[in-house]
Symmetry: C2
Subunit: 433 residues, 2 copies
């Protein structure tokens, strides 16, 4: 009968035992709650999509290296979703006319990437996706960036524990154009953008060498390096103030400062975000903890993505927030609460003569709205009490032969170990609060 089947989950994935699931449910509850506060509605799509959906517009790296794709038995090439935005865009495109605008959607899908498992990066992970469709103005940016902030605050975080770095793809396009870095037959602009995306992870020398390899002149390299450390005040040294990317960026910072909400936002000239579909504002939230200073999540504007389905454009702005970096942030900052058992009361079963009496108590308490576990088999009382302790159940009800004959029951509070005996007709909800 025994086999050599492993009890381990598949590489890069996690088993969620009840104590892990409690954390996940707590986190997803925070996420949903804030989204609903802003009028966002939950949606979901299938786990499998056609391969072409990702080939069309995600980053090249994902499609070539990281995608879980295979042929189904009907010879369709399918992929396990590596991100949710293409699915959201597909669903919006399918009902573009009938959906009332603005469309405010959120979802918490599990996503798949084939990659070497490492800290914070797993093959299966969950991600909150929040998107607004149909809003051209920067009001979309403001609302979405505030939702992300409110989620971090809902963990109990202080505003100085994180910052939101902001950039604009159109601005960067204009800067590169001014520097003479273009989307020529060498795809120079595309390659330089990928180099900028990697800059934080490599040395200055390696960065310069990459640019040289991509046929950048020494002057272009110098200009780029100067630009990448510029501030809001001197962007205009590199680009005309007439450029729409410049105007969007400056206006966005003005809008935040009007509401005095600008303390956590910061211009970041080298911020790229991986996906190829971004068209305007991009942002990324960073943990400011000195030992954990890393990107947690981000998003941006993708006004062209929905149009790949039917040619009709609709402005779109959103972000995706993974569960692994979220839990990491919460733990690094000591914000994880002690989550107690969802089961309110354990009903002990002393022997089979008392069972019906005890099960009736269980049924009555369930009808009052409580979550009740029964020990189900007869066992020594101390073993049953230990079970309640192990499961973190706060109250235990005991009714053995004596209690049954007296029509009473005992309630033990497992926190302070106090016990009281009551008549069966005094059974009520308030005893267990």
């Amino acid at each position: 009968m025994k086999t050599n089947l492993s009890t381990q989950p598949y590489k890069g994935t996690r088993d969620f035992y009840p104590e892990d699931m409690r954390v996940r449910n707590w986190l997803f509850g925070k996420w949903s709650n804030i989204c609903r506060k802003y009028g966002y509605e939950e949606y979901d799509g299938p786990m499998l999509e056609s391969f072409e959906l990702y080939a069309a517009k995600s980053g090249e790296e994902i499609v070539n290296n990281e995608l879980y794709s295979f042929e189904d038995k009907g010879h369709r090439k399918v992929a396990m979703r590596p991100e949710m935005t293409p699915t959201a865009a597909r669903m919006v495109a399918a009902k573009l006319q009938e959906l009332p605008k603005p469309i405010r959607w959120f979802t918490i899908p599990n996503l798949w990437r084939y990659e070497a498992p490492q800290r914070g990066r797993l093959r299966e992970h969950w991600q909150l996706n929040v998107d607004i469709f149909g809003v051209e103005s920067l009001d979309a940016e403001i609302e979405i960036i505030e939702i992300a902030r409110d989620i971090l605050l809902s963990y109990g975080a202080k505003q100085d524990m994180f910052e939101c770095r902001i950039n604009n793809r159109k601005l960067l396009d204009a800067v590169l154009r001014n520097f003479g870095i273009l989307d020529n037959e060498d795809q120079q602009k595309y390659k330089v953008c990928k180099a900028i995306d990697k800059k934080d992870k490599i040395s200055q020398d390696d960065f310069d060498q990459m640019l040289k390899d991509y046929n950048c002149t020494p002057e272009q390299i110098e200009n780029l390096n100067k630009y990448l450390i510029c501030t809001l005040d001197n962007i205009s040294d590199f680009v005309s103030e007439e450029e729409s990317g410049y105007q969007e960026l400056i206006t966005l910072f003005d809008l935040f400062s009007i509401e005095d909400k600008n303390s956590f936002i910061k211009f970041s000239p080298g911020l790229m975000r991986g996906f190829d579909y971004y068209t305007g504002t991009v942002f990324e939230y960073y943990d400011t903890d000195p030992i954990n200073r890393r990107s947690m999540f981000g998003g941006g504007r993708y006004d062209d993505l929905v149009a790949i389905f039917n040619g009709q454009k609709i402005p779109a702005f959103g972000f995706g927030m993974g569960d692994v970096p979220a839990i990491n942030f919460i733990e690094v900052h000591g914000l994880m609460p002690k989550l107690s058992s969802e089961t309110d009361v354990l009903i002990t079963i002393m022997d089979s003569n008392c069972k019906d009496y005890c099960l009736q108590i269980a049924e009555d308490l369930r009808n009052m709205g409580l979550n009740i576990s029964t020990y189900i088999k007869s066992d020594k009382l101390d073993k049953q009490m230990k079970y309640a302790d192990q499961k973190g159940i706060k109250y235990v009800v005991i009714a053995g032969e004596t209690e049954v004959s007296k029509k009473t029951f005992k309630v033990k509070n497992m926190t302070d170990r106090t016990e009281q005996e009551l008549k069966i007709e005094d059974l009520r909800l308030e005893l267990f609060k």
Copy 2:
């Protein structure tokens, strides 16, 4: 820019737009709620498992024909889970010693089967799984069958809208042994069991022919047909009352009748359930509606499954309940409630001068705990009102130039179309209940 990408979801899967998701969340909420009432805790496992996990113990048909399996880039053969029980068994086996018993678990995973999509059978579906580990006695059967009943009742169903058919694998084994139908080199018993499983879907002649093809004698065929219409009272014509399968079945019916809860349970001598891992009681809930008389879901005892990992047995009993038959049952019986929007209030935006005033109202109402959507862009008031109607949002707040100057706001109840104007300091939660 335009491509020929389809906006349709992958064959046999569903997109859940917000109105569909609301139904799904309502259903899953009912499921979780009843499980928690009985002290069951939520868990989850990965979407991908090793192929061997299903090859070991699921039904042959699933593994050969219906499994979504492929090789990952590291040449591991993996499968998208077609059912949750093997994952649950794997997780229990991994922590068998440390988990306090009884183990009560539930989960609502999405599952995959490659098959021709048809009514009630999709490639991706969701399924509630409820399992109890560590209880040998029939108390496990009673609790689990009652949870399933309570879930149906929680939809608003009456007890006569469904019935629970019960059988016992050990009993059937003993009967077949008595008839001389054995697990010989022809796998006669295995094949006959599969024929019995199909009996309801084929004619009597086809059934008899199948048995004949499996080398059953005319006498065996006659005996089998007699047995398959027997009742609780005359099972003993076919099997000794000493058989454990017989005793379990009779005791289970006795236990139900003590509590006067036997009106919805019914002995069904031909009930098999597809999975190969069942070892004792099996059950299946049927819709009793004459036009919809079909199996909705079921489960059973699988005391040997956990042992395939490490040789250590633990008794187990549980069921799986799919979302598609559940919604079908709810709709056929007219039990689907009208689910209203989770967004409580729409804040209209009359023009850019009033925007900050309106956004402040939105923020204040969110802080009071309400879910608030803003129209975000200026538009004609009737267009904004129409949006609230389309979204099913019950209250609209209006504050144009006049209201801003008077420091007031208007609240419109979209159900009865009444409107009132109030001072801004009178903004409070109760206006929107």
